[in-house]
């Protein structure tokens, strides 16, 4: 299962990529493959403030509906509106084109509550 080296992860299978004060979030390869074909994504509105591990979006697939929790606290500055018309982008490219939202963050210390790529990989192995 593909995992990006420089990203951080949650046990709920979300990822976050930090670039300076900006965090990009999405769901992992494991999440998308288990959900199956994604049919709808409910995006947050810009300017919404979220706490770490608070619900930020939800996805519906042919199999299930799941909430997505924000790996980090912050204010939503941009959402991936392309997902509205083509949520299947997440199935095709979950770590880049399938990003869900960008947040402006304030507290990088929260990263210590997340898993590194290495930790997440071994967590996934434990699940199998």
């Amino acid at each position: 299962m593909e995992v990006y080296e420089h990203y951080y992860y949650t046990k709920e299978h979300e990822w976050v990529n930090i670039e300076e004060e900006e965090a990009t979030i999405g769901i992992t390869e494991y999440a998308q493959s288990n959900l199956g074909d994604i049919t709808f994504i409910e995006l947050p509105s810009v300017d919404t403030e979220v706490e770490q591990f608070e619900q930020i979006a939800s996805v519906e697939s042919v199999k299930a509906a799941s909430d997505i929790f924000s790996p980090i606290s912050g204010k939503v500055i941009e959402v991936n509106t392309e997902l509205e018309s083509d949520p299947g982008i997440i199935n095709k490219n979950c770590y880049e084109k399938g990003w869900i939202a960008k947040l402006e963050i304030t507290d990088k210390d929260e990263l210590s509550n997340l898993l590194s790529a290495e930790d997440y990989s071994s967590y996934l192995e434990g699940l199998n």
Binding site: T39, F40, E42, E60, A64, A65, D67
Partner: protein
Amino acid sequence: MAHFISNTKEEVRQMLSAIGIKSIEELFLDIKPRQRPRSFKIPSPQSEWEIHNYITSLASKNASGLILFVGGGYYDHYVPAAVNFLISRGEFVTAYTPYQPECSQGTLQALYEYQSMIATLTGMEVANASLYDGGTALYEAMMMALRITGKNRIIMDGGVSPIYRKIIRTYTSNLNIEFHETPVVHGHSDRERIRELLNDKTAAIILQNPNFFGAVDDHQDIVELAHQKKSLIIESVYPISLGLLKTPGEMGADIVTGEGQSLGLPLNFGGPYLGFMATSKKYIRKMPGRIVGQTTDTKGRRCFVNTLQAREQHIRREKATSNICTNVALCAIQSAIYMALIGKVGLKKLAQLNLDKAEFARQELEKIRGVEVKRSSPVFNEFTVRLSKDATKVVEEMIDYGFAAGFPLSKYYANMDDYMIIAVTEKRTKEEILSFADCLKKVLNG
């Protein structure tokens, strides 16, 4: 009863000890004595005919055969014989959407037709496959508005059926919702008060047209106000009136609900009735209940499926749009048959007939000393009158003349002892209306 094997004393003892109590009595300690049945003594068994006689004698205590001038949300419309004939077909007789729904293409197609008709009737883009009744549908609409907006203030117009308002208050008594009810002024929604209460925290304004007093209104101005604050408009409507009136869709309403009883369902003693709900396409994923969709099968043929099920509780669990994952399919199909029989032109004529007969009744009643017909607003087929005597007593006395005369407003509104609302459907003949006026005259003036 072969399946029923009562617990042995030993099993009862084991179960009680597992939860750490000594006796059955202790299990029910939380139920206060006054809340318990006085006795569990039930009569000894009787034969089928004995029970039949007993039940028949109970049923005969009901006043039946009265000529109905009472409405209040449920109306005495004619149900064509074909409706009952078609609905009694074995293929339709289930209260539920089948559990393997796609095996029942006929049921799904009928529900799809129902949805399409409700959407057309209300002027909205989409409708679900029905909810329980008008009151619970309105509650579901309110919950839907809370989900869509993420806000928690609700403004409820006093002209919304008091029965519905009570249902909503009961359902939400333990939820964090800030309720405001606005009064009715000269039969209409109090725009001033609504404007004062409407703010950025307002999730929705709940309105009804015609309102409980029978007044017809155009809520478009309230819709525009609400949308400026990113609040939604929920409109409860009387479907037969839509044959003539401006639809909630034309007014710009966001969620439309109503009681579907008038669409081909008889007046049962409390149900089963039919709640309908329609909304805009953009809110479809926030709508509760089942939705039937049209698609094509692997061979390219038209077919029907239960769609968007990720909203529903068997998939989404506690985050579902509602705990309602069933509907009143039989009643919905019944109303679809009714609507198909009546047709677009027929519905217009029917609505016009209701309006004309109500106006005739208003004019006849106005001639009576002791009757004041309220004319501050236009009406459809129901209207408010003020009497020179207590309305509840008048209704009681009118029963002796063979009439269910109206709905006394004092049941739900303070200081309205001498008011009642009177409904006149297409079923009321000229003779019945004249005789009604004649009897009312006798009751009021001796």
